[in-house]
């Protein structure tokens, strides 16, 4: 009896404490309505306090780049906060330089809105829009890469620069209860305004790529935002040198096709690095492009061709192969898209070949 009384007392006290905490939280975390002043009162939003700056802006159709969906793992959602919103968090520190911190740059996913704040957002981010689309085609490219065509709803059209990327939102699936947002480069050409094509490589255990590879089907609906990014073609080059690996082919395909469509009469070399023949894709597409446009050259290189590949093309690292075709970087621009390791290796080699650092554009993914 005594034990029962003790248990009931402890349970009762715990329940009362829990209720008190819930009530206290409701009052303490209730920041009411807060105002976000953008670009010196150019725009003013009224939002419910307590949410992140990133999500509050997104709910008002202002989309800041974010490839991790607000988990402070991509470092893309930087914006300038002009008000005091507290110290930089440990989660932000790895992504901010001392100059950026001094300048008020913050990761918008980590800034919680608790009062009226003032922010500065670059004009080009206001061009980022939300699109609703239907998956009209899914094509297997390799054992771990697929290409998706997403057709926008009637009346929706996109304007983007070849090389830019979109963000796609996955839906809950299996044991996954939350949505995830990830960034993928556009592989289609800007003149195709009623759809975008994305090339997506499976990340083992990846939240969004698992959804895209294993769960999404033709006919499914998706929500995407974009276009994002400053990796796009610049005009003033004598010759274009493209280097990519894996799904890094996407923006290069878009840029090369855009150059051809616009009738820009410049030489283009596209070096595509892969481990074996099973990692190559769109080969026929690029071979046909070579026949139609003699100034475009496609050079796939296999680092570890298997005997059964019967490969007669270039072998070795893509950086070594490139040196056999390009003598100097003078007057040329290089566009790189691939793994951080590949990009770093390419930059090192290109700089040694007199490519100017400001003429090397890259999209590390």
């Amino acid at each position: 009896m005594e034990i029962l009384k003790t248990i009931l007392s402890v349970t009762g006290i715990s329940t009362v404490l829990t209720v008190l905490i819930i009530i206290a939280e409701r009052f303490l975390n209730n920041y009411g309505e807060c105002k976000i002043d953008i670009n010196d009162s150019e725009k003013e939003l009224t939002v419910d306090g307590g949410s992140s700056l990133l999500s509050s802006l997104a709910s008002n159709k202002i989309f800041i780049p974010s490839a991790c969906g607000g988990k402070a793992t991509c470092g893309l959602c930087k914006i300038k906060v002009l008000s005091d919103v507290g110290p930089v968090l440990p989660t932000e520190e790895p992504f901010l330089t001392p100059e950026e911190i001094k300048d008020g740059i913050r990761l918008s996913c980590q800034v919680k809105i608790k009062k009226d704040i003032k922010v500065s957002i670059p004009e080009e981010l206001f061009n980022i829009k939300e699109y609703h689309a239907t998956v009209s085609r899914i094509s297997d490219m390799t054992h771990d890469i697929k290409e998706y065509r997403l057709e926008f709803d009637a009346g929706e059209e996109i304007k983007f620069k070849a090389g830019q990327y979109m963000q796609i939102e996955s839906k809950p699936y299996g044991k996954i209860k939350e949505k995830a947002v990830r960034a993928y480069s556009i592989s289609s050409v800007p003149s195709d305004t009623k759809a975008v094509e994305l090339i997506i490589r499976r990340v083992p255990g990846g939240l969004c790529t698992t959804y895209m590879h294993d769960h999404i089907k033709e006919g499914d609906r998706v929500r995407i935002t974009g276009p994002y990014g400053d990796f796009y073609r610049r005009d003033d080059s004598d010759q274009y040198v493209f280097m990519a690996g894996g799904s890094g082919m996407a923006p290069i395909k878009s840029i090369a096709m855009d150059i051809i469509e616009k009738g820009i009469d410049k030489e283009m070399f596209f070096f595509f690095g892969a481990v074996g023949k099973k990692d190559l894709y769109h080969t026929e597409f690029f071979r046909n492009l070579e026949k139609e446009y003699p100034k475009f050259k496609y050079i796939p290189a296999l680092s570890n061709a298997a005997p059964e590949d019967n490969w007669e093309g270039e072998t070795g690292l893509v950086t070594d192969v490139m040196k056999n075709y390009i003598d100097t970087g003078s007057g040329k621009h290089a566009y790189l898209c691939g793994s951080p390791g590949m990009i770093n290796a390419c930059i090192k080699v290109l700089v040694s070949m007199d490519f100017k650092e400001e003429s090397i554009y890259y999209d590390k993914f």
């Binding site: 991790c68 988990k71 991509c74 790895p94 490589r201 990340v203 083992p204 255990g205 939240l207 481990v275």
Partner: protein, 153 residues
């Protein structure tokens, strides 16, 4: 075994959907504390440390990163391929660490065995003695791992 609130939070971070699609615990029904204790005992019984294992993994990973997207041969025995993906992944132990989404595939020709680990695995083994739960995608039993890495006979 009872777990403190921090261990509970960590175990939540390890569930499917928190940081990865498959999570870190596989189909293991043991508590995180029990998983850590069992693997720690296995490593101690080999006369090596978690840091020894992580350092050996890092050795291969760094070697592989020297030649991106390419299989490299080491000591005539090991084939190493490092495979990078966009972005970072945070450590589920809530220690503010985040690692590149980079994976290493190691094939030991002598033993005809292949293992696969992520940069995050190296961190979790080094700092937390965590090899993931049974049935998890990136789990390798510490004794098997030490054998394939050439740390024990």
């Amino acid at each position: 075994m009872k777990q403190n609130p921090k261990m509970k939070l960590i175990q939540e971070n390890m569930q499917p959907g928190a940081y990865t699609a498959h999570g870190f615990l596989g189909d293991d029904t043991r508590s995180l504390k029990d998983i850590l204790r069992t693997d720690d005992q296995a490593v101690t019984s080999m006369g090596i440390t978690h840091k020894d294992i992580a350092a050996r993994m890092m050795y291969f990973t760094e070697f592989g990163k020297e030649a991106p997207d390419s299989v490299v041969i080491l000591d005539g025995v090991y084939e190493v391929l490092v495979d990078d993906h966009r972005g970072f992944i945070p450590c589920p132990f809530a220690d503010n660490a985040k690692e590149f989404k980079s994976n290493t595939k190691l094939y030991n020709r002598d033993q005809d065995r292949e293992i696969y680990w992520s940069d995050l695995n190296i961190h979790m083994i080094s700092e937390h003695g965590f090899y993931e739960g049974q049935g998890s995608f990136f789990r390798t039993d510490p004794v098997d791992l030490a054998k394939i890495l050439g740390l024990i006979e």
